[in-house]
Amino acid sequence: MDELEVLKKDWNKQDQRFRKLSYGEIYKMILKKSSSIVKWIFIISLLEFVFWFVISFLLKGTSVSRKVEALEMDHILIPLSVVSYIILIYFFYLFYKNYRNISATDNAKSLMENILKTRRTVKYYVIFNLVALVIGTVIGTFYALRHSPEFTEKMAIATSQDDTFKIYAGTVIAIVIALAITILFLLVFYYLIYGLLLKRLNKNYRELKKLEV
């Protein structure tokens, strides 16, 4: 006899073995908060939006922003800020739309796809911020170097000693290392958070996809 048929016989007999929950106990349960992964993804994603948004505000009024102001970059900074806010709003709209589409009543595959889609939107937003960080640093450095009296002085000395290449190479290497460390730190952080949170979902999604091959 098929093993599952043996189990099927027992399966429907087991009802009386479960502890029956009363009306009151079930009622108490529906008042409790969910701790599903969707809720956690929503919270973490919101924190990410807030994090990048707050960073731009925190920089205002600091010595860094005063230095940036001194560089007279408004003709670049203002259009860039406008574009980045529009992109932020667009990302947030996408994120919210995807989040609303997540429904526990969908079939298992669609549910997983919708969760992964929401997660992907946030991932693109993070990539956008990282790219903006790199571009911002490159433009900022270029302007800072052109306006820095110290650097101009150094360059004058370097030119007289034929050391221009060394100075440029040193500056570029320092920036690349600083950016690499920042990006690596953020990537490890994201990998840990989402990697752990979505490990099981990804595994199950792969399993369902495998069935289609």
């Binding site: 073995r17 599903s36 549910l111």
Partner: protein, 164 residues
């Protein structure tokens, strides 16, 4: 209005609670984990209830939400210890109804099922609940042919697990 909704939901769930217990039975192997998953499924069902139109049976609707919670939404409880405690306790209770051989066989079957992956467990669950392949494929989002093929593979896997 909200009170009426709460009342109708809790009443329906009280009547059909065994479906949730059975999902928990396959996806957890510890009493605390069983209760945690039961609670999360109940919350998910309640959240989805306002959209329940009644065009499908309440039980069918519960299968979907219950399995989705177990497979996708539920964050496994830290308290889920990989022991066979649960099986042991439960089988002691029903020992008087079954002879030893059958009890032993069932115990081995449940242990083998706990070793299946989440999707395989879902297939086994729906099979044990006597759902047809149309419903199985709709619940999981795969084709009927693939559901049938996978079910046969699960049966073979179970045989291998039982013989190992």
């Amino acid at each position: 209005m909200k009170k009426d909704l709460e009342h109708s939901f809790v009443e329906l769930l009280e009547r059909h609670q065994n479906i949730i217990h059975k999902v928990c039975r396959l996806y957890t192997n510890h009493y605390d984990a069983h209760n945690d998953l039961f609670q999360e499924i109940t919350i998910q069902l309640w959240k989805a209830y306002p959209k329940f139109r009644g065009d499908s049976k309440f039980s069918t609707w519960m299968y979907r939400v219950g399995l989705n919670t177990a497979i996708t939404l539920y964050r496994k409880s830290k308290r889920q210890i990989s022991t066979q405690d649960f099986d042991g306790v439960e089988f002691k209770i029903k020992a008087e109804h079954y002879d030893d051989t059958e009890e032993q066989q069932l115990k081995q079957l449940y242990t083998a099922i706990h070793q299946l992956n989440d999707i395989e467990k879902a297939l086994v669950f729906l099979y044990l609940e006597d759902r047809d392949y149309k419903e199985i494929s709709e619940t999981l989002g795969i084709s009927q042919v693939n559901a049938r093929v996978k079910m046969n593979r699960v049966k073979t896997k179970l045989k291998t697990l039982l013989n190992s």
